[in-house]
């Protein structure tokens, strides 16, 4: 990406902040998708289906929100999916062994965070490029999980624990509340705290950030730890929702999570993006899959349609931003 073209693309003329403009465009895209689906199917606009979409999006969002901060800092975390697998299996074991959902929750969050910290240490201290460090971590985690599970599954958890995945409060699924909570917290952290600002600065130019006195290593470790912790959250919601743990539980989710962040307007070069954008990105991806299921699109076509929509969404977004 050439400097002039890229930067030229990102400059609004008005005082309307860049982020706000991005978000508006992306919401429009999601809205358009909704209108299309509402017109071509009769079941899309039911309350049930909307809640359904939101709950499915929440699983993706947990992963993607952690990933957003990593990508903002100029890195990538490919290990989130594998992290879910390990954390879910550990949490499941602990719940089974102790009967205590609280201890299980702590185990899931703890192992997720620990993996994240390891990623952070590799990236910050050993200076291994994040793509590679977390890709290596992905394999290590898979290996550990496969070894630990030996091809078995763990299933059947106490109803109290299952609430966080399949429960409702005031008619709205609990994961949706969790999603909105993390959306608010993530947005606040990124936009309204000094640490968040420093993460943006690191992503935009790590060398300059270091020479500005930002403790780059510590912030990076924080970012990866957060991403790991969010994988831990996702693993718990998965566990509670699916009522069983198996080794490859999160495997298929890594690329969609990255896609959600990128559709949300973040740049893999770092320094650009918002948590809210990621939220909309996750929503768009989920809507596409939901729509295809509602329309009973032949399964062979699903990857193709998803692929085209991912590219279209990002392209429209870029045009939108260039216009401003």
């Amino acid at each position: 990406m050439s400097m002039s073209s890229q930067t030229a693309g990102a400059t609004p003329r008005l005082h309307l902040s860049k982020d706000v403009v991005q978000v508006i465009y992306r919401l429009l895209a999601a809205g358009l998708l909704c209108v299309v689906l509402a017109v071509v199917t009769d079941s899309f606009l039911s309350t049930n289906n909307i809640l359904n979409v939101l709950r499915q999006a929440s699983l993706l969002f947990f992963l993607a929100s952690g990933l957003t901060l990593v990508i903002l800092s100029g890195g990538l975390d490919l290990s989130v999916g594998a992290n879910i697998g390990l954390s879910a299996c550990l949490a499941a074991t602990v719940i089974k062994a102790t009967g205590s959902p609280v201890l299980g929750t702590l185990a899931g969050l703890g192992s997720g965070t620990l993996v994240g910290v390891c990623n952070g240490l590799m990236v910050a201290k050993l200076r291994i490029p994040s793509f590679i460090a977390t890709y290596g971590m992905l394999w290590v985690l898979h290996g550990l999980t496969y070894y630990y599970m030996g091809g078995e599954t763990i299933h059947g958890f106490p109803p109290g624990f299952r609430q966080i995945g399949s429960g409702y409060f005031l008619g709205i699924p609990i994961p949706v509340y969790l999603m909105l909570g993390f959306l608010a917290a993530g947005t606040f952290f990124a936009q309204r705290t000094v640490w968040g600002q420093q993460i943006y600065a690191i992503g935009a130019n790590p060398v300059a950030a270091r020479l500005c006195g930002i403790p780059v290593d510590r912030r990076l470790i924080l970012v990866y730890a957060f991403s790991g912790a969010m994988a831990g959250v996702a693993s718990l919601v998965f566990l509670a929702r699916l009522n069983s743990a198996e080794g490859d539980i999160g495997e298929a989710l890594t690329l969609p999570a990255v896609a959600a962040v990128l559709i949300g307007g973040a740049s893999l070069f770092g320094g650009v993006g918002t948590v809210f954008g990621t939220f909309v990105g996750a929503l768009i991806l989920t809507l596409v899959l939901n729509g295809m299921n509602l329309l009973a699109v032949n399964a062979s076509w699903q990857p193709l349609v998803t692929g085209v929509i991912v590219v279209l969404a990002v392209w429209l977004d870029m045009i939108g931003r260039r216009r401003t």
Partner: protein
């Protein structure tokens, strides 16, 4: 939109066109609009063969933009080009090349993992007899010739990313010279060079001039303007405000044309008795090669650090700031031993203004406001909660104080002119409330007006009790501004000059004294 101050009308200058026959290249009525900025407004400009044409103006006046229009990097919104009287189109760099235009850009256009020779001949590779392949032998032979011509002693097979800033600048120059162009544009080529390389460059320029090459030269160094220039064009706020001839104009007059007011270029200082020791280096050696560095900076002083390019000044600055690891010796700041990286340094009140603004100083994709706030975040927001409004107000104050020309605090820093970018780098440390400032080439690319303001600012900082260590390749600056200076050679300190001993001759004598 631009932040220029209201100014009295510029003094009247002779507006008659000298009768020199048909210009080699003439630009008429060039305008260029960027979002929020009218960079060029109906500018006309002409160059004749064999002349060195100085292009002057404040930071952000539109000099680089004009040259980018001239070489096809930007497309002008309106305007026409005439080559030897004939109307031509310059829409792409290729068009410009065909007309024999070569450019040395203000921002480097080098490829880090190609070697020096490949960079010099990028886009003009030599074909081998075997179709499709390259003639590498010829490439290195030709490159060696160009390097010899400008006196750069670097193996043409060296990868460019291993070179220092000055050497990269020389490669950039070599790249333009190798094109044997009839029009050569040089955008602040000497901003990163020391006197020795500069001399060499001037010699080459005189040869070219003798051969009939037209040279457009942009510089903020007044001495160069008068030493080299045949004719001068001054831009202000994107407009051509007049022509001048060096022999008939004084520096003061030129400056007034540029900035629309009088600027005191003697950089007045109030020398005071220094206070407590703020920085003390004892026998510092670092992985970067500097050895046995001893120096002291007291509160209320500006201490210079001079020497040739590559003498290790930057490395000393980085070692103090903790950016490079120290292998032996100790750094004392405010009497306490300092250990740790730049984050520790920043919390202890040290500021480093690095030499390379693009790679080390700025987050180019972020806004002016973001960049100005980033070093001062902990100070501005002690409770860790960031407030965009507060950051913006702080940025607006700095933009005013440093007179940064930007359409708004929300402009991406990458879109500012070179000098204004440099001001942002300085500005961000003012917000951090540092008490020991290390300036590495702080005035690189900064116009004369801004320069005197920045020195006034530095003077004010020391008056308030701050301590300053300043690196500059412009010896005149060191001589004018510093209380004392250390001279470096071969990565060691070879001497100290007190205020009374501080003169350009002494610096050169100490720093150059070759083995």
């Amino acid at each position: 939109m631009r932040a220029a101050v209201k100014s009295p009308p510029a003094p009247e200058v002779v507006e008659e066109k000298p009768d020199l026959g048909t210009p080699l290249l003439e630009l008429k009525g060039i305008s260029k609009q960027f979002p929020g900025v009218k960079a060029l407004d109906d500018v006309s400009f002409a160059i004749w063969p064999g002349e060195v044409h100085m292009l002057l103006g404040e930071n952000g006046a539109g000099k680089s933009s004009l040259m980018k229009c001239l070489c096809g990097a930007y497309q002008a919104d309106t305007g026409a080009y005439f080559h030897m009287g004939e109307k031509v189109e310059i829409r792409t760099p290729t068009d410009a090349k065909k007309l024999g235009i070569a450019v040395i850009f203000q921002e480097f256009s080098l490829v880090p993992y190609l070697d020096v020779a490949q960079n010099i001949f990028l886009g003009r590779e030599f074909k081998s007899k075997i179709p499709g392949l390259l003639d590498r032998r010829r490439l290195y032979a030709e490159a060696q010739k160009v390097l010899d011509r400008i006196g750069l002693e670097v193996d043409p097979r060296t990868k460019v990313h291993t070179l220092g800033v000055a050497q990269q600048q020389m490669v950039e120059i070599a790249k333009a010279l190798s094109q044997d162009a009839s029009i050569l544009v040089m955008d602040e080529p000497t901003a990163a060079l020391s006197d020795r390389e500069t001399e060499r460059l001037f010699a080459v320029m005189r040869q070219l001039q003798a051969k009939g090459t037209a040279i457009v030269y942009i510089s903020h160094r007044m001495a160069e303007v008068f030493a080299l220039g045949d004719r001068i064009t001054v831009l202000r706020d994107g407009k051509n405000v007049g022509h001048a001839v060096p022999g008939e104009t004084s520096p003061d007059q030129l400056v007034r044309m540029m900035v629309g007011r009088t600027v005191d270029m003697s950089y007045p200082r109030n020398f005071r008795a220094p206070g407590d020791v703020v920085l003390e280096l004892k026998d510092i050696s670092a992985t970067t090669g500097i050895a046995d560095i001893n120096l002291v900076v007291r509160a209320g002083e500006i201490v210079g650090l001079c020497g040739l390019v590559g003498s290790g000044r930057t490395e000393v600055a980085r070692a103090v700031f903790g950016a490079d690891a120290i292998t032996s010796g100790e750094v004392r700041v405010f009497g306490r031993i300092k250990q740790g990286g730049p984050d520790v340094a920043a919390t202890e009140g040290i500021a480093l203004i690095p030499e390379s603004r693009k790679t080390e100083g700025l987050a180019l994709i972020r806004t002016v406001s973001d960049n100005l706030a980033v070093a001062g975040l902990p100070k501005l927001f002690p409770n860790h909660l960031f407030s965009p409004g507060r950051a913006r107000r702080s940025a607006e104050a700095l933009i005013k104080r440093l007179r940064i020309a930007t359409p708004s605090p929300n402009q991406s820093v990458g879109l500012l002119s070179g000098g204004n970018q440099q001001k942002v780098v300085i500005g961000k440390w003012l917000a951090a409330g540092a008490r020991l400032f290390i300036f590495d080439e702080p005035t690189r690319g900064i116009d004369v007006g801004a320069k005197s303001e920045i020195f006034a600012l530095i003077d004010q900082l020391v008056a308030e009790g701050a301590a300053v260590l300043m690196i500059s390749s412009e010896q005149a600056e060191i001589v004018h501004v510093c209380d004392r200076a250390y001279v470096m050679r071969g990565r060691r300190i070879v001497g100290e000059l007190s205020r009374s001993e501080l003169s350009e001759e002494n610096i050169v004598r100490m720093g150059m004294h070759d083995e």
